[in-house]
């Protein structure tokens, strides 16, 4: 019933937050939510959470929101966000950290045996390689 998001030190200092910090090497606290990353992002038009919202969600420790978001997978790693961030946060690295965490969860991986023969025949080889790279544990 209560959809209110409960914020607590436990969330703010969760394992997810420290994992992101460790993998990306970035201090998420530095972000003051100016939105320059989202403004410059060439893929933002298809994202469900904008890059600045991803960062803020990490600040809040919203693990599920971040992991479930399409955004890290749509990130083209073009580094515009990283180059433009006024606080020097390497946002692309944060996106990569999110992807790493996702991958290690081995969720949503490609089950090769489950693919139909017809689909396999149509898929370009590069798509399969990328798919394995991104979506397998």
């Amino acid at each position: 019933m209560d959809m209110r998001l409960q914020i607590s030190p436990g969330m703010l200092r969760s394992e997810f937050v420290s994992k992101i910090t460790e993998l990306s090497g970035q201090d998420i606290n530095l972000c003051y939510q100016c939105g320059k990353c989202s403004a410059g992002c060439p893929m933002s038009f298809v994202m469900d959470l904008l890059p600045n919202q991803i960062i803020h969600s990490v600040q809040l420790g919203l693990t599920e929101d971040v992991i479930r978001s399409r955004t890290p997978w749509l990130c083209a790693s073009c580094l515009v966000c990283t180059v433009r961030c006024p606080k020097g946060i390497d946002i692309a690295s944060v996106m990569e950290a999110v992807r790493q965490i996702s991958l290690r969860k081995s969720e949503d991986f490609i089950d090769l045996a489950g693919l139909e023969r017809g689909t396999l025949a149509e898929l370009p080889a590069i798509a399969l390689v990328s798919g394995f790279r991104k979506l397998t544990g």
């Binding site: 209110r4 914020i7 703010l12 606290n29 939510q33």
Partner: protein, 651 residues
């Protein structure tokens, strides 16, 4: 008129501003035939050096006795042209400005014919007025080179020290029992994080020992009369009932006094006694009995303090003292308050929902918790603290429309101080915008954000309520568009900064203006920011507008600078274009007295006529307009002059 009237008219093109709309050649042609005008000339920019030379040459060669300058508003160049005329021997009050720019060419752009005819009418009207202008000289009033400073907070202290160090005597009036004001209550200051006692210590000592500063404690302004250069002030000093010379500050009386009332200094977080002995860090040493709460002064027989005092310093007799001081100028620095609690449906009353000043005391080393951060209800160390900005600020419907300017900064500072005191504590800051617009401020806030364990949440709060041991805060995080909830141990409300409730009455006594919020009003927000509209009364600090410490000091120094520049003169010159009374006509009805905003007119009871105090009169003309018999008139703006103006302008 002994002398023949010889008037020169100088029409300015103002580049294209006037000449683009008004046919200046036709204006000059028309005016050159007007009675009394012996010279008419136009020029591209009359205010320029060549333009001024044209004026001077004409005044000399045509022996002019008066000048009409047709150009921009008199606020821009009346002074310029008066100076030019005076240099050539014409009385400056025989220079009239015909405003054919703001009042003619600009509003009638595109209608050359109308604009030209109107310009001619305006200039002819000015000629008619000039014809009847008297030669005047500014009046001279003596100047008392002593200053009164009201309020001994950091603003008043700074102004007093600057004026006293400039070599002039200062009367410093403080209504509290100690000096230092609000800054004394703070736990730290942004952006440098200096302790307030560090900021104040040397100044407090300098004020209390300065040979040219006379400090009146527990004192208020009773009455002010007079004018710039010569104010008579009556100060009421409340009787303290304790002999300061005998009192040794031992504090035995404090132990015995049975009364306890919420301490103002501690913002109600602790109790004080009815007899008050200053803390060692308070200045000056000023022990007093608070008669409002003392049992003895409320029908009781208690004399516990007197019995306890080993020095016999307590005396229950005495009366308030009325002190008369004569000063030349006044600096008003009565300080600020926080907006009283509002919106109880959002912020209910609870001991653990406090305001910013209260948290300053809790964070302060000399505060009620002895420098340990503990919450008021149960003295537990709060593990989670929520700060809420803009409580009442920027909310015209429920609070005040303005931004209080200091909250973003002090909330950041308090979060930092809290984090240092409780290293594993978590601070949350709800904010609407971050405003950090002065030197070092943005860097300070970003530094605080970088600290960790301080979470900024952009959004407002919908409800704050107690839930057992916790204070729940419901709000929104507008960046992720989610309603959020925080279970806090302590909630700090950054309430809006407002003037003290007593400031309005002080303004009334000083006869200076205050705005709809009660802030003292400056003469001009940009050009005269530390002057009131009443000559000789200056403003400093937060009674004028929300200010932080750096801005407060700057405004106090600016006020002191104005005072010192005034004191550098030997006497004061006063505009002569003021009201005068024709005593033959005046019936002493007194309507003019009521109309005067400057208290410059009174009735001479003996002769039953109105009397104008020339030093106070600002020449506004309210009295002249209201007088039923035209007995009060303004020099060089008489009814006769206006009838002539109307005649020519409508003809």
């Amino acid at each position: 008129m002994a002398r023949q009237v010889r008037i020169g008219v100088f029409v300015c093109h103002c580049g294209n501003n006037i000449a683009g709309t008004v046919d200046v050649k036709r204006v000059v042609e028309e005016l050159s035939h007007y009675p009394g005008v012996v010279h008419a000339e136009d020029y591209m920019y009359m205010c320029s050096d060549p333009g001024q030379e044209i004026m001077k040459k004409a005044i000399r060669e045509k022996s002019l006795t008066g000048v009409v300058n047709a150009n921009c508003s008199p606020t821009l160049h009346q002074r310029t042209f008066r100076r030019v005329a005076e240099a050539e021997g014409i009385n400056p009050y025989r220079v009239e400005i015909a405003n054919i720019r703001e009042q003619c060419s600009w509003p009638h752009m595109g209608d050359r014919e109308t604009a030209t005819r109107k310009a001619i009418a305006i200039i002819k009207a000015a000629v008619e007025k000039l014809r009847l202008n008297m030669e005047l000289t500014p009046s001279v009033t003596p100047l008392t080179k002593r200053a009164l400073v009201i309020g001994a907070g950091i603003a008043g202290i700074q102004a007093a020290l600057d004026i006293a160090n400039g070599g002039y005597e200062v009367v410093l009036v403080e209504k509290d029992i100690c000096i230092g004001g609000r800054v004394m209550q703070l736990a730290g200051t942004f952006p440098g994080m200096e302790r307030p006692d560090y900021l104040l210590a040397s100044r407090l000592a300098a004020v209390t020992s300065h040979p040219r500063i006379r400090l009146y404690m527990c004192s208020e302004i009773e009455e002010v009369s007079g004018y710039v250069g010569n104010f008579d002030v009556i100060i009421r000093q409340k009787v303290g009932y304790v002999d300061k010379d005998r009192c040794n500050g031992c504090g035995l009386c404090l132990e015995k006094c049975p009364v306890s009332v919420p301490s103002e200094y501690e913002c109600g977080l602790s109790q004080r006694k009815a007899i008050r002995i200053p803390f060692p860090d308070m200045a000056p040493f000023n022990p007093v009995i608070d008669a409002e709460h003392c049992l003895r002064f409320n029908g009781g027989q208690c004399q516990a303090c007197r019995e306890a005092c080993p020095e016999g310093a307590v005396e229950f007799s005495g009366e308030d003292t009325l002190i008369e001081e004569n000063v030349g100028i006044i600096v008003a620095a009565p300080g600020y308050d926080l907006l009283p609690a509002g919106e109880p449906e959002i912020y209910p009353e609870d001991p653990d929902i406090i305001d910013g000043l209260q948290f300053e005391r809790i964070l302060s080393a000399t505060g009620p918790t002895g420098g340990e951060v503990r919450r008021p209800s149960d003295s537990k160390v709060p593990r989670e603290v929520v700060f809420i900005s803009c409580v009442g600020s920027r909310d015209p419907e429920h609070g005040v429309p303005y931004c209080s300017r200091v909250c973003c900064m002090y909330v950041a500072k308090q979060a930092l101080l809290y984090r240092r005191a409780v290293p594993d504590g978590q601070a949350y800051i709800f904010y609407t915008d971050m405003r950090s617009d002065a030197k070092g401020f943005e860097e300070f806030v970003q530094g605080v954000m970088d600290e960790g364990n301080i979470l900024y949440l952009r959004g407002e709060v919908s409800r704050v309520f107690r839930d057992g041991d916790k204070i729940k805060v419901w709000g929104v995080d507008s960046l992720v568009e989610r309603d959020v909830e925080v279970s806090a141990d302590l909630v700090v409300l950054a309430r809006a900064m407002v003037p003290r409730p007593t400031t309005r009455e002080l303004a009334r006594r000083l006869n200076i203006a205050s705005d709809e919020h009660g802030f003292l009003t400056e003469a001009h927000i940009k050009l005269r920011p530390v002057e009131s509209l009443t000559s000789g009364i200056y403003l400093a600090g937060t009674a004028q507008w929300p200010r932080d410490v750096p801005d407060t000091i700057a405004s106090a120094e600016a006020a002191a600078c104005k005072v010192l520049s005034l004191f550098s003169r030997e006497e004061l010159l006063h505009e002569p274009t003021i009201a005068f009374v024709d005593e033959e006509v005046c019936s002493g009805c007194g309507q003019c007295v009521a109309s005067c905003a400057y208290r410059a007119i009174d009735i001479d009871e003996g002769r039953a006529v109105a009397r104008v105090n020339e030093a106070l009169c600002e020449g506004c003309g309210a009295c002249a307009a209201i007088c039923p018999s035209s007995a009060v008139q303004l020099r060089n703006s008489t009814p006769r002059q206006f009838f002539e103006i109307i005649d020519v302008a409508s003809g």
